[in-house]
Every structure is written in C-alpha cells, then in structure tokens.
C-alpha cells in the first residue's frame, strides 16, 4: 500500500460536481416565502386556508400568489416557506402525475401515496443537507376517510385532525384545538369556515408577514375546490388605545 486513504461510506460522499472549491449548491436561507397554512378536518372532508402573499423578506412582494395546489383528483397540498422550492415540488408532482397518465393502467394516485412521495423527497433532501425550505400540508379524502398530514424540511411527518404551519402553529392551533379537536365529524361547512376565518384573522392581526387576502380550499369525496381570493373584516379600533399610535 503506497498511501493510506480514508474510505468514506458512499452516503456521505458528495458528487464530483459539488466539491470544496465549487459554488455552494445548498440554500442556507429562503428568499421568497409564504407564511402560515391552516387546515383541519370537518364533516365533509378537510378545509384549508393560505393567504395570497409571497414575501421578499419584510417586503410584501407578490400579493396574488396561491400557496395551495390540487394534485390528482382528490388531494390538496398547501405550502409555507420558499416559493422557488414550492415550484420545484409542483413540477415534480406534475411529472409524477404525467407518468401515471402515460401508464394508462386505470390506477389513481391516492392521497397517502402522494404524502409518502413528498415525505421521501423532503427527507432525502435533508439527508443531503440541501433541503426544500418548505412545510407542506397534504389533505385528501380516500375511500370515504379523510387524511390530513404534515411534512417539513427535516422530513418530519405527522398526521392530525388539525394542522397549522409557521405562525399558525402558535396562534391558530390553540383555536383549532379548542373548537375543532374532538368533534371534527360534526362540524358543518359554515362552522368550519367561521373557525378558519377566525384563525386567519388572528394571524393577520399578529403575524408581521401576513396579508388580508386569502384563499380557502376544501377537499371532499367529490374532489378539490379552491376559492377565489377574499379579504377578512377586521377591527383596528383597539389601535387607538395603543400608546404612540397616530401621534
């Protein structure tokens, strides 16, 4: 043996293109971002909402964005985090569906399969220290059963009757826990919309990167419906009592 070389297991070796002297090919921070996603189960399926903003740091840059997409016939995916990474995921999912369409074998991709597919990608990317800087909320109705799951950029996954990402996890989740958890199956659509709007209103009041123009979407056995954008009624009277306001 002429020299001693350290044999590194293949999982930690980086491809030849990514070396110590090349450009950094993994992000350490997101650029254009979306804030919270709020979603929960109700009687007919799942309801979800996101605002229409993609922020550029503290700038409210793109104010007509949709951070939810329908995948296949009966899956809804909402995102918070980097918009560029979301677009990449969108393209990947579209390719998956195109491939399924090509196969033309009468089979459909269910919500659980799409959830697993996304989770595998997210965990795979984190394992390369090159994450897609997103949190995804995946919702669908399969065989009469509602499915609601979460995946983040660590590849952490969980399912729950109520899910909220970003600021929503701190501000909206307690509301959902009180008004939804335990009786998802009895909530009508009107009640669900009311609770959802209340959550989004709180987020608009208190999240500094939110926007008062939002979309809501529902997934039921009939499929996915994403609404047109709408604003919420807000009451800023309390602002008069804030010391320093207006002066």
């Amino acid at each position: 043996m002429d020299s001693i070389t350290l044999k590194v297991p293949h999982t930690t070796e980086r491809p030849a293109e990514i070396t110590n002297y090349g450009p950094t090919t993994h992000i350490s921070q997101p650029s254009v971002t979306g804030t919270s996603v709020v979603a929960f189960k109700y009687k007919d399926g799942i309801i979800m909402a996101t605002d229409c903003l993609a922020s550029y740091g503290s700038m409210a840059r793109f104010r007509n964005e949709t951070r939810m997409i329908s995948v296949g016939n009966n899956t809804l995916v909402g995102m918070s985090g980097d918009t560029g990474d979301f677009q990449h995921m969108k393209h990947t999912l579209e390719n998956l569906l195109t491939h399924e369409y090509d196969m033309d074998d009468g089979q459909n991709m269910g919500t659980r399969s799409i959830y697993k597919y996304i989770s595998n990608i997210m965990y795979g990317r984190r394992s390369k220290i090159d994450p897609l800087w997103n949190s995804y909320v995946v919702a669908g109705v399969e065989n009469g059963e509602s499915f609601l799951g979460f995946v983040d950029y660590y590849g952490t996954t969980y399912q729950s009757p109520t899910i909220a990402t970003g600021f929503g996890a701190y501000l909206a989740q307690p509301i959902l826990r009180k008004y939804v958890e335990g009786h998802e199956d009895e909530l009508t659509e009107e009640e669900a919309v009311r609770i959802l709007d209340d959550c989004m209103r709180v987020l608009y009041y208190r999240d500094g990167r939110s926007f008062n123009k939002l979309r809501r979407a529902k997934v039921t056995a009939e499929g996915v419906e994403i609404s047109e954008p709408y604003p919420l009624d807000t009451n800023w009277t309390i602002a008069n009592y804030v010391v320093g306001y207006g002066s």
Partner: protein, 266 residues
C-alpha cells in the same frame, strides 16, 4: 437452417422469429404444470412438483409457488434457478413501490415491470432469456382479483383460467370447456364486483376444477400432497389474504374432491 440464427438472442431469423426465446418456451413446456383459476371470491394456484424423492425435505421452502407481496402470489414453471432471480427482483420492486407510495403495488404494474425485465434479455445484452413463465395471482382495490400469465418473451395477458408447463394445452382445453363464464351481456358494467365481473365460479368451483385438471394432466396414478403445491388468494377483512397450503391441507382438498378426480388409465 435454423441453426444459423439461434445462437444469439439479439438477432431475428429470416422468418422473423427469435429462436432463443422459443427455445426458452420449449424448456418450460417440460417443466411441472402450474394451473391458475379465477373465481368471484379469489384465485386458486396449483402446481406439480417435479423433484420428488423420499430424501427431499419438502416441508421447507417451495419449488413452484412464491409470495411476491402481500397482495400477489405467483406460480413458476421452467428453470427454478432463473425463477429465483426473477422472484427476488419482483419482491424488491414491490417493496420499493410500497416504500415510495405507502400503497401495495397494483398487480398489473408488478407484472409489467417483471415482463419489461424479461423483454430486455431478448433484445440487448447478449444474455440468454430467462427460462421461466409465471402465473401471477393478485388483488388490488382498482381491479379486484386478477390472474396474469407471462412468458420468457416478456408478453403478459390477463386470464380467467390459465395453465403453464407440461401438458398445458391439454389443461387449457379442459379449462375452456369447464370454466363457468359469466355470459350475461352486462358483465362489463358490474361495478360492485370489480375485477371478478365476468365469472360465475365460486372458490369451491375453482378448487374442484383445479383438482379435475390436475388429475387429468399429471402423470401419476394417484395425486398426493407430496407432488403438489397449492395456494389461494382471497379477501379477509377487505384485505388480500394469501394462503399457501400445508401438505395436510392439500390432502384435505384432494380428499374432498376425490370423487371428481379420475385416476389415469389403469
């Protein structure tokens, strides 16, 4: 004349034939018979073991019937060593699909992947084809119970009843006569009985017919569990359930349908 065109898989003969593929199929026609019969409530697979000896420890391992996945079971005819490679590949394909999509692989998808693999060995690489035919019996939520036959060329098709291996043409003609097809005109619109539409056979009918065909195609005086492998796939709690019969269970089946089985000419 054919001699000139049969030494490589990757060339056609002047008549447009692939001799290596045909020779592979010839090998299979000398292998132990495998029969598959589709019924409304499940599929029966039965196979004749060719390697029998007092010294063989037959209770361990199978020679003909293998589980590919929770929802697919297959019978093989041909070169067992070749079959083992393909069985292993299919198992990996099925598990990979499960890992990616959290959903059991659709039966036709698995069969297609397997057949694409087999086809590759008839077109490039310069390696001989696999000398194996499969009868894949499976269930998925979209199409219900399905039975597929695949050959060394990589062709596959879906059957209500099929047979591969020795005496397969004999068996096929018996099956054609005796199989209780659903001849009502709206067989295709049967949505509640997905996949099993088009047949009036019950599991009992299928088991009985299997025994009849086995007794007529296998060359021994009396069928015993020593010479046979048996498996069924049915639904249990709305989930596919594969049952590979033990020798005692095979004996029970043979006893139950003893009356319909004719012993071969004395």
């Amino acid at each position: 004349m054919a001699r000139r065109y049969d030494s490589r898989t990757t060339i056609f003969s002047p008549e447009g034939r692939l001799y290596q593929v045909e020779y592979a199929m010839e090998a299979i026609s000398h292998a132990g018979t495998v029969i598959g019969i589709l019924s409304k409530d499940g599929i029966v697979l039965a196979a004749e073991r060719q390697a029998t000896s007092n010294l063989l420890e037959q209770s361990i391992g199978s020679e003909k019937i293998y589980e590919m996945n929770d929802n697919v079971v297959a019978g093989v005819a041909g070169l067992t060593a070749d079959a083992n490679i393909l069985i292993n590949q299919s198992r990996v394909i099925a598990q990979r699909y499960l890992q990616r999509f959290d959903s059991p692989i659709p039966v036709e998808h698995l069969v297609r992947r397997l057949c694409d693999l087999k086809q590759g060995y008839t077109q490039f690489g310069g390696l001989r084809p696999f000398g194996v035919s499969f009868l894949c019996a499976g269930w998925d939520p979209t199409f219900g119970f399905q039975l597929y036959q695949s050959d060394p060329a990589g062709n596959y098709s879906s059957w209500k009843a099929a047979c591969i291996g020795e005496n397969y043409s004999n068996a096929q003609s018996i099956l054609k006569q005796e199989y209780k097809d659903d001849d009502s005109s709206d067989a295709g619109s049967n949505s509640s009985n997905v996949g099993s539409a088009g047949t009036r056979m019950t599991m009992d009918d299928a088991l009985k017919l299997t025994c009849v065909v086995l007794s007529k195609t296998i060359d021994t005086a009396k069928l015993t569990s020593e010479k046979l492998e048996f498996a069924t796939i049915t639904l249990k709690d709305d989930k596919p359930y594969i049952h590979i019969y033990s020798s005692e269970e095979i004996d029970e089946v043979l006893k139950k349908y003893d009356s319909v089985m004719k012993p071969s000419e004395d």
